[in-house]
């Protein structure tokens, strides 16, 4: 039986896997120690659990556990990586490079650096959402100290060429940070091979709890950071603050499950996504946003022309989806990611991000296809733009009354 609204917003957040919850719960009450307490068993067992989780997180991305620093989430990891590296290496130069389609946690952090006197280049992306390596090469200057590129885009799901960018940055001696919040459990990440210096992770996008994340900080060759949160000297002085054991245990278990199950799970999800893709592109005048090949199987972002975004969301309230990124969707600004892909405001407004996950069923996908067919049909019946389109009028030639 279907439960409404059907959740198709796994890129905003995922439910905590019940197996993860089961691991976390004992750490709330029975084993509640502060992992920094060195004088009794409550503290020791908490510390041991924290270290085991660190190994589990490291294992998913083939890193050394010593390279994993706990944070409160990917936003904090991005802030720590970007500000921490920029502040540490500012003697070498004050130029950083990022991409226009990055998450706000990266863009706003880079803007903060600009206010501090750094210079930043925001790379354009191609129409398919991917960066052009030549454009990146051209942007690199002698004083470039940091490049930050996300692994998987949160809105359109495209996978950036991280391996190639890593080679380029390593060759030039530039610190390379990757926001991998949307990548864990979806793409293979091998930090032994990838020439990435810093990588941000989040638990709650991979069936773990909210409020916990991690930053990978490479040891060989060693990358240095200036801490952003000072205090008791936790996490080798890079991030002070009492560690939240239950959350860390949850992230460890979530990443362990991701490692074990991702191959099988992604095959299943790809089938569902392809079904959804075929079912929706059946509808006339729809446009898929972002490259379909270099893309995680979980994401489908589609613009439905001639219907308005907000009324579309209202029409499909039986499914829980995003129009634009969850973090910015409180405002009515069209998605800056879709605009960077060259979509006009109308198409950006009428785009829907469907994100599929571990608990999505075929029945839910079937329902969604049927719902979209009905509702898009109804809204287009209401739409003067659709009528004009059907009458063969080129809307770009229409003189619209000023409003």
């Amino acid at each position: 039986m279907l439960k409404f609204p059907i959740y198709l917003d796994y890129s905003a957040t995922t439910p905590v896997d019940p197996r993860v919850a089961a691991k976390m719960i004992p750490w709330l009450t029975e084993h509640f120690g502060n992992p920094a307490s060195r004088s009794h068993a409550y503290g020791w067992e908490a510390e041991q659990a924290v270290e085991e989780a660190r190994e589990q997180v490291a294992a998913l991305v083939n890193a050394d556990p010593k390279e994993i620093i706990w944070t409160s989430g990917a936003t904090e990891s991005n802030n720590l990586a970007i500000k921490g590296a920029a502040h540490f290496y500012q003697g070498k130069g004050k130029h950083v490079i990022t991409v226009k389609t990055e998450h706000k946690a990266v863009l706003d952090t880079v803007r903060e650096l600009e206010r501090e006197g750094f210079e930043a280049t925001y790379l354009d992306v191609q129409e398919n959402g991917l960066i052009d390596l030549e454009v990146l090469k051209a942007a690199i200057r002698p004083d470039t100290i940091l490049v930050s590129v996300m692994f998987v885009n949160n809105e359109v799901g495209v996978v950036q060429p991280i391996a190639q960018i890593g080679e380029l940055c390593r060759e030039k001696g530039i610190v390379f940070h990757v926001d991998a919040a949307q990548a864990t459990g979806k793409v293979d990440i091998d930090l032994d091979k990838l020439k990435v210096d810093l990588m941000s992770f989040s638990a709650h996008k991979t069936y773990g709890p909210k409020g916990i994340g991690a930053l990978y900080v490479r040891r060989k060759p060693r990358v240095r950071l200036e801490a952003q949160m000072h205090g008791g000297g936790h996490e080798r002085g890079l991030r002070s603050g009492t560690l939240a054991t239950h959350q860390i245990v949850g992230m460890g278990e979530a990443f362990r499950l991701a490692r074990e199950e991702m191959a099988e799970e992604n095959a299943r999800i790809r089938k569902l996504r392809d079904k959804l893709l075929n079912g929706l592109t059946d509808i006339e005048a729809t446009y898929v946003n972002g490259d379909l090949e270099q893309r995680v199987p979980h994401n489908l972002n589609i613009s439905f022309a001639y219907v308005e975004g907000e009324s579309l969301i209202m029409a499909i309230k039986d499914i829980a989806v995003s129009s634009g990124s969850a973090c910015t969707s409180a405002s009515l600004e069209p998605s800056y990611v879709l605009r960077a892909l060259g979509r006009n405001d109308e198409l950006a407004h009428s785009s829907i991000r469907f994100s599929i996950g571990r608990f999505t069923t075929e029945e839910e996908v079937d329902f969604t296809i049927d719902l979209l067919h009905k509702k898009i049909g109804k809204l287009r019946e209401l739409s003067p733009l659709w009528e004009m389109y059907k009458d063969g009028i080129d809307l770009d030639t229409v003189q619209w009354a000023a409003h």
């Binding site: 959740y7 917003d9 957040t13 439910p15 905590v16 896997d17 019940p18 993860v20 919850a21 976390m24 719960i25 709330l28 009450t29 029975e30 120690g33 502060n34 920094a36 307490s37 060195r38 004088s39 009794h40 068993a41 409550y42 503290g43 409160s72 989430g73 936003t75 904090e76 802030n79 998450h103 706000k104 946690a105 706003d108 989040s202 709890p209 909210k210 409020g211 916990i212 952003q228 949160m229 000072h230 205090g231 008791g232 000297g233 936790h234 002070s240 603050g241 009492t242 939240a244 054991t245 239950h246 959350q247 949850g250 309230k317 829980a320 969850a326 973090c327 910015t328 969707s329 409180a330």
Partner: protein, 387 residues
């Protein structure tokens, strides 16, 4: 663990209260009632999360006499202290920052970081009992510091500072006044307006709430720059997807702690007094005994007995206590609070902290006193043989 040791380290962290855990469970994905939305999402899942956060914000605000819009959720007390100090400093021209000499490392270290960035750092002395030295305070205030931070209750000694009286001078001098109320919440009355501070730090896990949640309560007229930039959550002052489970737990924990505070404090002070009586008989030094203190905290040392050794013996005998404060106990140095009080470093190395809480019973305290007496007598015998 085959048996659970008696937990006497409630100032380090506290077990989550059962009702608080039950309120959190749906947000941690527990089976049928699972809720998990991202509070920034506009659909029903997101709205449920947003509503839960709003309710918790109101609970926290009510517990401390603040307005809900003054509560900024953070990942904990350390972050809240960092947010105030660095966030306020970023909006000011470099000036003087005054903190007490006994602040928690998560105030002291950001303060030192600001000193490296060009601020003058003034540490205000305390007396032998750990109270702010009023003459030094006035002297520090005369230098017209832009920022002043003084903790409401000390995590090690439990000593309370008269922030209301001290704060008057600081405000008149034009300083932004902050208090770290992490150890005070739930143990003494904490009223944001009555304290007259511009900002105040709270933490969930010290009051029967979860690890991973805290708050900066801040007057909206205070200009702050965020520590963590991004999606613009928490009025732009703290970006990052909200930790709904921990925030829900924090809200309820605040409500409970404040409701039970008076009765609980009276119960704990009686237990603490019985420990202190026994300590006197055994010849211990009880630090800050003459000062107004939290009702749950005893900080003491025995002449000639190393604190680590005593705590180790007590642990093996089934009692979990602390030597020095948990957060800084990775460092073997004696407590900086005691050193600031002028305690001889040799004596300070003997320091042991016993802190009581919600589940501590009279029977446990009786057993602890008996065990302590044995352990101390044994250690003293050993010490005399060694000499």
């Amino acid at each position: 663990m085959s048996f659970a040791p008696v937990y006497l380290d409630w100032n380090a962290t506290t077990p989550i209260a059962p009702e608080v855990r039950d309120a959190m469970l749906p947000w941690l994905g527990a089976a049928e009632s699972a809720r998990f939305g991202n509070a920034s999402s506009r659909h029903e899942y997101g709205r449920q999360a947003r509503a839960a956060i709003d309710e918790a914000r109101a609970q926290v605000a009510t517990a401390v006499g603040a307005h809900a819009t003054e509560v900024i959720f953070t990942s904990g007390g350390s972050e809240a202290n960092n947010l105030f100090l660095k966030g306020a400093a970023a909006c000011l021209k470099s000036g003087t920052l005054a903190i007490s000499a006994i602040e928690h490392p998560c105030v002291r270290e950001p303060a030192r970081q600001l000193r490296r960035a060009g601020w003058a750092l003034r540490e205000i002395a305390v007396d032998a009992d750990g109270r702010i030295d009023v003459a030094d305070w006035q002297c520090a205030i005369e230098a017209r510091p832009a920022l002043v931070s003084v903790m409401l209750a000390n995590n090690e000694t439990g000593v309370l500072q008269d922030v209301v009286a001290l704060g008057g001078d600081a405000r008149k001098a034009g300083a932004l006044l902050h208090t770290d109320a992490v150890q005070a919440l739930g143990k003494i009355e904490v009223d944001f307006r009555a304290l007259g501070v511009h900002a105040m730090t709270l933490s969930a896990h010290k009051i029967g709430g979860p690890l991973g949640a805290g708050a900066l309560v801040v007057d909206k007229r205070v200009e702050l720059s965020p520590l963590i930039a991004g999606g613009g959550q928490e009025r732009g002052l703290r970006s990052g997807t909200e930790n709904v489970a921990a925030i829900v737990g924090f809200g309820l924990a605040c409500e409970r702690a404040v409701a039970r505070r008076v009765v609980e404090a009276a119960r704990l002070v009686a237990l603490r007094d019985s420990i202190e009586h026994a300590l006197s008989v055994l010849g211990a030094v009880v630090f800050s005994r003459a000062a107004a203190r939290l009702s749950n905290t005893v900080f003491f040392a025995f002449d000639g007995i190393d604190g680590e050794t005593l705590v180790g013996k007590l642990d093996r005998a089934g009692f979990a206590c602390a030597s020095g404060s948990a957060c800084s106990s990775a460092q073997p140095e004696p407590s900086h609070t005691l050193l600031a009080m002028g305690v001889d470093p040799v004596v300070a190395r003997g320091a042991v902290r016993v802190s009581l809480g919600r589940d501590t019973t009279a029977e446990e305290v009786e057993r602890f006193v008996a065990t302590l007496s044995h352990v101390v007598r044994d250690l003293k015998k050993l010490a005399s043989v060694a000499f």
